[in-house]
């Protein structure tokens, strides 16, 4: 027997023995199928390694340099013209075929697109929401509106819509949405300067009333919640805002309540500059359905307890 084969057998046995001991120490010799597969893999690896190494060591010992050389010759050193192994040729050709498919169809046509997946997901979700929205009861709408309100409005207006207090002064930071309380100062300012913050088409022109006494009377009346005797000059305001201050959809906001039309218009097109900064354009984030839901919730009074 050749010395090399002897060395191969000894090495194989040593490596298998080492594997066995190592497995045993780590508690790997049990019924677990994963461990059994690992042992099988180790045995195959050991045998294959020793077989391949032995083969090439033998070849180095016995091989004679024969065969055709390529036409290049570098200072007497040549290179054999070996044929490409069959397996390589097959893989090479398959790679070319796959490459042709990938460049013509795989990448441009069938490629994965994250944006595409997003589009599909959003479209599917919107469709299912629209379907559900068609059958909502008014109470369900309020609950859904509350969910939107808590995420998008509550950071400034508070979860009950009463506005959040300033950490230093205790002043309200954002408007209390439970009742529309217009201060006299504010009404006077709007009458004098006009306003187009809520996003109603055209907005309110400045100086609808000219006389200081008239402006004062109307502002006092509106600040008082439109109770008591109505000043005659209010007729100018009433033509758009309604004689009871209830507003007119798409034309002018209500002066007495945050009704659905006011909230929807503001969220869709208005940029309200309040005490604490410009109110965000929620239309950039909310869908029309969400705006409708949150408008219904605000009109209902955010602090009102909802039925289950």
């Amino acid at each position: 027997m050749n010395k090399i084969y002897l060395a191969a057998i000894v090495t194989t046995l040593a490596m298998l023995g080492f594997t066995y001991v190592a497995m045993d120490i780590k508690g790997g010799l049990n019924d677990d199928i994963v461990n059994q597969l690992a042992i099988l893999g180790a045995v195959v690896l050991v045998i294959a390694t020793v077989f391949v190494v032995t083969k090439y060591v033998r070849q180095m010992q016995t091989d004679k340099a024969t065969g055709d050389l390529t036409e290049e010759n570098w200072d007497g050193i040549g290179e054999y013209m070996n044929e490409m192994p069959f397996g390589w040729s097959v893989i090479f050709l398959l790679t070319i075929i796959w490459g042709l498919w990938y460049w013509t169809a795989g990448y441009p046509v069938a490629a994965y697109s994250q944006i595409g997946e997003w589009n599909e997901e959003v479209a599917a979700k919107n469709a299912s929401i629209a379907q559900r929205a068609a059958n909502l009861t008014p109470n369900e709408k309020l609950h859904l509106g509350k969910a939107v309100f808590n995420v998008q409005c509550a950071p400034c207006h508070g979860t009950n819509g009463k506005g959040q207090e300033n950490y230093q002064t205790g002043d309200l930071r954002a408007e209390n949405l439970n009742k529309r309380a217009l201060s006299k100062k504010y009404v006077e300012k709007v009458i004098r300067e006009g306003s187009n913050q809520l996003g109603y088409a055209g907005g309110m022109p400045p100086m609808m009333l000219q006389d200081d006494a008239d402006i004062d009377a109307v502002a006092t009346y509106i600040e008082g919640g439109m109770k008591g005797e109505q000043p005659a000059q209010y007729a100018v305001c009433g033509s758009c805002h309604g004689m009871n201050g209830e507003g007119m959809d798409f034309v002018a906001p209500s002066l007495t309540a945050y009704n659905v039309d006011l909230v929807k218009t503001l969220l869709t097109s208005g940029t309200k500059k309040g005490e604490i900064g410009t109110m965000p354009r929620e239309a950039k984030i909310l869908t029309p359905l969400q705006i409708e839901l949150v408008a219904a919730f605000v009109a209902n009074g955010p602090a009102t307890e909802l039925e289950e």
């Binding site: 997003w118 300033n166 950490y167 230093q168 900064g277 965000p280």
Partner: protein, 235 residues
């Protein structure tokens, strides 16, 4: 097959050049596509906003807050539309961040106000119950570094051709609604400080902290004002 090339070093070098240049073209050409240009509606930062951006970087806001909205419905529902590459055209360096301990801030200007930030930077837990964000009271007293921001504006204008208008030169920036706007920077350092102060006055009009208001009235700009200007510009 390649013997002909191997015997002619010049043509071999040309061949190598062509092969490598092709790889270069594949990487370089897409950068000139429309998709890689600044997104319509993206403006470079004004002097005060850029000052605030440095406050943001200095305080490592980007360690906890990302500025990158991924195209997942859960993210676009919460933060607004997903980020496009062209929106970062004037961010040097970009502040994508890699870990969100706090929420994403890519479009925070769309849904928070000056006053909210003021309260939140001073008292995060009082503003958002359960928040883990620390308080940043020193921003209310430290002065913002407008000079550095202005120097950066001059640099990126001349080196990277950022479309700042300066003096008589007006560079129009297209907006989403079809109009165009300009972003002006001053021609002198004193002018830049004055312009930043004008911007700061608009911000403090919505703030409640009397000390900050007094500082701005006295011509000084605390870091918080610059930071809020920056955060409000993120849209």
């Amino acid at each position: 097959m390649f013997h002909w090339l191997e015997k002619r070093p010049f043509f071999f070098a040309v061949g190598v050049f062509v092969v490598i240049a092709f790889a270069g073209l594949v990487e370089i050409l897409p950068n000139f596509a429309q998709q890689s240009q600044p997104t319509v509606g993206t403006k470079p930062y004004s002097t005060l906003e850029l000052t605030g951006r440095h406050v943001y970087i200095k305080n490592s806001c980007n360690a906890c807050h990302s500025q990158l909205i991924r195209p997942f419905k859960s993210e676009t529902d919460r933060y607004g539309s997903y980020s496009k590459s062209g929106e970062y055209a004037y961010d040097r360096p970009f502040l994508w961040g890699s870990k969100r301990t706090g929420p994403d801030l890519m479009r925070v200007g769309n849904y928070r106000t000056t006053d909210w930030h003021e309260n939140h930077m001073m008292d995060p837990i009082g503003t958002v119950p359960g928040s883990v964000m620390p308080s940043y009271p020193w921003m209310f007293t430290n002065l913002a570094d407008v000079d550095t921001a202005y120097a950066e504006q001059l640099t990126i204008k001349s080196v990277f051709k950022v479309p700042y208008s300066m003096g008589d030169e007006k560079i129009l920036i297209p907006m989403e609604d079809g109009t165009s706007e300009t972003v002006e920077i001053a021609t002198t350092l004193a002018g830049a400080n004055a312009a930043a102060l004008e911007e700061a006055k608009l911000i403090v009009a919505d703030m409640k902290n009397q000390d900050v208001k007094d500082m701005v009235a006295a011509g000084k700009i605390p870091e918080i004002v610059a930071l809020i200007a920056y955060l409000n510009s993120l849209k």
